[in-house]
């Protein structure tokens, strides 16, 4: 069932940085890149350090792929696919995200790839 859930207001987002929202008991890291008019949602859990911290990583791009660097051991995760750029066997969940009437909405049932 595809269901969009209200996460927060766009004012809660941090330009060029991340925040974490609790969506149906899942920790979702939400990143906002105003220059590209892009928002991304991935799971906040860092599979390397086993803590909920990806929303607190630095973001940018590696060879054009938007990414977040884990604040703990600095692995890079694609914001589009959730893949770890250093270890292709590792991947974090990515979620569909949209802005609807100045509200940020997440759909934890579909990944971005499926949505697109």
């Amino acid at each position: 069932m595809n269901q969009w859930i209200d996460a927060c207001s766009i004012d809660d987002l941090q330009a060029n940085s991340g925040v974490c929202a609790l969506v149906e008991n899942q920790q979702v890291a939400i990143f906002y890149m105003p220059d590209d008019n892009a928002v991304y949602a991935i799971n906040n859990y860092d599979p390397f350090s086993h803590i909920n911290a990806l929303s607190r990583g630095l973001i940018g791009d590696i060879k054009g792929e938007p990414m977040v660097a884990s604040p703990i051991y600095k692995q890079h995760f694609s914001l589009k696919t959730g893949r770890c750029l250093e270890d292709e066997n590792i991947r974090v969940e990515t979620y569909a995200i949209r802005i609807n009437n100045a509200r940020v909405e997440i759909n934890t049932n579909i990944t971005i790839e499926e949505a697109a």
Binding site: A15, S17, I51, N52, G60, A69, P71, H76
Partner: protein, 863 residues
């Protein structure tokens, strides 16, 4: 019982004898620089399997670096001068008799007897007994406070004698004499150099060079007396001694240092009947064999072709020859180049080949510039094609080029004087390392040729550090470092290897380039910089670099919305993230000083929020286990109790450690806590390429460990001594003594300049220690920038630091006063819940993060 043990030992040793009948006893007398170098070369060769090696070491410690002996006064400890790794003898099964002197050689029975009574049999004997400082045999030469300049023990004696001395005299105006004079000056003595002949450094310099050197040395406050033949030393009137000279004049002095040449220690060889050269020294042939085919001599005790070599490189060459000969090889020692370059009291001096033009038919070019105090002279062959010798005083920058012309017989340019004249426009003067043959020796200390360097580069050594590790070049006296670098650069260029110094894929620039762009174009945000000079969106590397540069240059609040995305998580939350996602909180305690009230408030706050507390290695208290939402609450209370951010999260000034100093300590020379507090308050908040740590000690006992800090200050009688670029951490580095006896104002001025110069020019995440290691020209260059203002930037550097000082703000105070910024300090933007993944357990009465196993257990219990 005892009996049984002895039998067993006996059995084992006789077994060993049977088993290893082809073993040879190799005995080395003397564990100095050359003796040790011999052992190292031997251990690297195949024949070590067949040798039982024993060595006698007269001094109380094994071999140390005599070449850098004078640094014992300024910066190096005996340990740091050591040439022997702690396990060397053990690992290699070498028996060393420390503090035992060999006293007799019995050539018939092939044994050596020592002062402690050991009698050791040898198959081959190597004499490496070195030399002693020549002490003129005049009456009174052995009075108290009259010391030779050769060993660490001599230096300890000098330090002790200097304590109650005002005036010092050095006998001998040669290379070592001038070094000893510098040491006396550093010890705070009024210093005289007494030279027997008319010239300083008579072996190396001609009249012109020696004259200029004399006036330069005198400018530095050392009195130079030439043509003084000391005939006796008696009681002085105003000082401890009076030196009486042959011309009837006298000199009053409290200390006398002998450094008037060396005498080979050939007595043990002479007394067993080995041939001794007319001018002293054990006679050796091209294999370094003495007149006995089982005895070799190497180093300063040996005389080859009637010559004694008072430098390490020839000694090392002899050591290599002997190892090769023992292994059945045919290497020969055929003399050595005696060219030298050094800095005497800060004056560059170099001498190459035959400086006195004693070769028949030789021609001389000379250049003298009285204004800048530069003297240069070239000695060339009759046909004007070959360089035979050179003298450089005041500017020795031409030394590497000239030695290569000399050593490799490279044909001189059409106008040889172009090599010493301030550049002529029609001719290029430098000799590209490309022009050198592969056989050209680059490093004489370790006999590394250009060919060796090139093959190391081919194998993948593309940095000076890697080359040093691979070839050992430039790890001895260091004189060849500049040449090594130019060979490396040239080889890399030829191989088309472009050393990519881009900071990351988003900017085709180095950190230093970015710094200059930001400064020159007055850029204030990452956005502006990347749109003008970069590509893409940036990454954690360039964002942090630019964040740091903007912060150190403009010093704006780091959580400003344009900057917040540039900070690593620690700077974003102004706290250090721990392994479980919680944070540590470190309030500043300037100089490690804290009031009882302060301590109590910290204790109360920690208790209230259930934090783990620990005293850090940086003399302050760290509070661990704070959730992100608790950080502002905790800081609100800390600020109310009078604390400020300790910047433990930033690449910025961390701590200024102090010792208690003269206020309480009975040995304290000055108020180290007071200075530490003042320095910490001045530099707090300064963002840099990496963290910066200071320490201030109240006396030379150094309880604050200042010599291991980026900036270290030690109180001495005459003021403050400043050490720079020390490091603890992964690769400890002893700080370099930068300046001595400074008053506080000058001290702070120098620190201001050094720090901003570091901030401007270092690479990303480069501590001052590595910055210094990579700086071309090293400490001297840094001094020329900071003290002599060689680049003319000191005013700018000071203005920049003043801006940082004036615009300081406690980032936590700013943050708790700003509602919009506080929004960030929530785990969830849409809920007040906490992160359930943060779980503590108790240990030793405090909390700690639960480990994975404990988490699973707890989860199972809750389920």
């Amino acid at each position: 019982m005892l009996y049984a043990i002895i039998t067993v030992i006996f059995r084992i040793s006789s077994l060993k004898e049977e088993y290893m009948s082809n073993q040879q006893n190799l005995l080395v007398i003397g564990n100095g620089m050359v003796g040790q170098n011999f052992l190292v070369s031997l251990m690297a060769s195949d024949i070590k399997e067949h040798c039982d090696v024993i060595t006698f070491c007269e001094e109380p410690i094994p071999a140390y670096d005599r070449v850098h002996l004078s640094e014992y006064f300024s910066s190096k400890s005996a340990n740091e001068l050591s040439l022997v790794s702690p396990d060397f003898f053990n690992e290699n099964d070498i028996t060393i008799h420390i503090g035992d002197k060999a006293i007799a050689i019995d050539r018939n029975n092939k044994t050596v007897t020592s002062a402690n009574g050991a009698v050791i049999a040898y198959d081959k004997l190597i004499l490496a007994t070195g030399s002693r400082a020549f002490v003129p045999p005049i009456s009174g030469h052995d009075r108290e406070g009259c010391i030779a300049y050769r060993t660490i023990a001599d230096l300890d004696n000098m330090i002790a004698a200097a304590k109650d001395s005002k005036v010092g005299a050095v006998v001998g105006g040669g290379l070592l004499g001038l070094e000893a004079a510098k040491a006396l000056q550093n010890l705070g003595l009024e210093t005289n150099v007494v030279q027997f002949g008319p010239r300083l450094m008579s072996a190396q310099l001609d009249d012109g060079g020696a004259g200029l050197l004399k006036s330069k040395i005198e400018d530095l406050g050392v009195t130079v007396l030439t043509n003084k033949n000391t005939i006796k030393i008696i009681d002085g009137d105003s000082c401890r001694h009076k030196m009486i000279f042959a011309d009837g004049t006298e000199l009053e002095t409290d200390m006398i240092i002998y450094s008037a040449g060396i005498r080979p220690r050939d007595e043990i060889a002479a007394s067993c009947g080995l041939d001794i050269a007319g001018r002293g020294g054990i006679v050796i042939d091209n294999q370094c064999l003495t007149s006995d085919k089982d005895i070799y001599a190497i180093g300063e005790c040996a005389s080859w072709n009637d010559k004694i070599f008072g430098l390490v490189a020839p000694g090392y060459a002899m050591a290599r020859t002997v190892v090769d000969h023992l292994a059945g090889g045919a290497e020969e020692f055929t003399g050595a180049d005696m060219s030298t370059k050094l800095k005497l009291n800060g004056v560059d001096v170099a001498s190459i080949g035959d400086p006195h033009a004693s070769t028949p038919g030789s021609l001389v070019y000379s250049y003298q510039n009285g204004v800048d105090g530069v003297y240069k002279c070239l000695v060339v062959s009759q046909d004007n094609k070959q360089l035979l010798g050179a003298v450089l005083v005041g500017d020795a920058s031409g030394y590497p080029t000239l030695t290569q012309y000399y050593l490799n017989g490279i044909e001189l340019p059409q106008h040889p004087d172009s090599l010493i004249l301030p550049s002529r426009s029609d001719e290029s003067v430098g000799l590209g390392s490309d022009a050198l043959p592969a056989s050209a020796q680059i490093c004489s200390c370790y006999d590394v040729s250009k060919g060796d360097v090139c093959s190391a580069v081919e194998m993948g050594c593309t940095t000076i550090g890697a080359l040093k590790d691979e070839t050992k070049a430039a790890t001895g006296c260091g004189g060849c470092a500049a040449l090594l670098k130019s060979v490396l650069d040239c080889e890399l260029e030829k191989a088309g290897i472009e050393v990519n110094t881009d900071i990351c894929e988003h900017f085709p620039y180095t950190r230093q380039d970015l710094y200059n762009l930001i400064m020159v174009e007055e850029i204030k945000t990452f956005h502006d910089l990347i749109s003008k000079h970069g590509a893409g969106k940036g990454c954690e590397i360039c964002k942090q670099v630019v964040g740091s540069i903007l912060a150190s240059y403009w010093n704006e609040y780091v959580l400003e919305s344009e900057h917040v995305g540039l900070q690593d998580t620690n700077d974003t939350f102004l706290a250090n993230m721990q392994k479980d996602g919680t944070y540590s909180v470190v309030p500043r305690m300037t100089g490690g000083e804290v009031t009882p009230e302060g301590l109590i408030s910290i204790g109360q706050i920690a208790k209230k929020y259930g934090l783990y507390t620990k005293v850090t290695g940086g003399q302050r208290v760290d509070l661990f286990g704070a959730r992100v939402d608790q950080l502002p609450l905790i800081w609100q209370e800390l600020i109310a109790a009078g604390f400020e951010s300790g910047h433990a999260y930033g690449k910025s000034l961390r701590t200024v450690k102090s010792c208690v100093g003269s206020t309480w300590c009975r040995f304290g020379v000055d108020d180290s806590v007071g200075l530490a507090v003042e320095l910490e308050n001045r530099f707090k908040g300064l963002r840099a390429p990496h963290k910066i740590k200071f320490a201030v000690s109240g006396c030379t006992r150094e309880c604050a460990e200042a010599q291991s800090k980026d900036i270290g200050v030690i109180a001495v009688e005459g003021g403050w001594n400043l050490y720079v670029c020390g490091n603890g951490g992964m690769k400890p580095r002893h700080g370099d003594l930068f300046a001595t006896n400074l008053d506080k104002q000058t001290l702070i001025k120098y620190i201001d300049r050094i720090l901003i110069f570091y901030v401007r020019t270092a690479d990303r995440l480069q501590r001052t220690s590595v910055w210094m290691e990579n700086m071309e020209g090293g400490l001297d260059y840094l001094k020329s920038v900071v003290i002599d203002d060689k680049l003319g930037v000191c005013d700018q550097l000071e203005a920049q630091i003043q801006h940082v000082v004036n615009s300081y703000q406690c980032e936590w105070k700013t943050t708790i006063g700003d509602e919009t910024k506080l929004k960030r300090f929530r785990h969830f933007v849409n809920s007040d819940k906490h992160d359930e993944n943060i779980i503590f357990v108790e240990e030793r009465g405090q909390i700690r993060p639960a480990n994975l196993e404990e988490r699973e257990l707890l989860a199972a219990e809750n389920a």
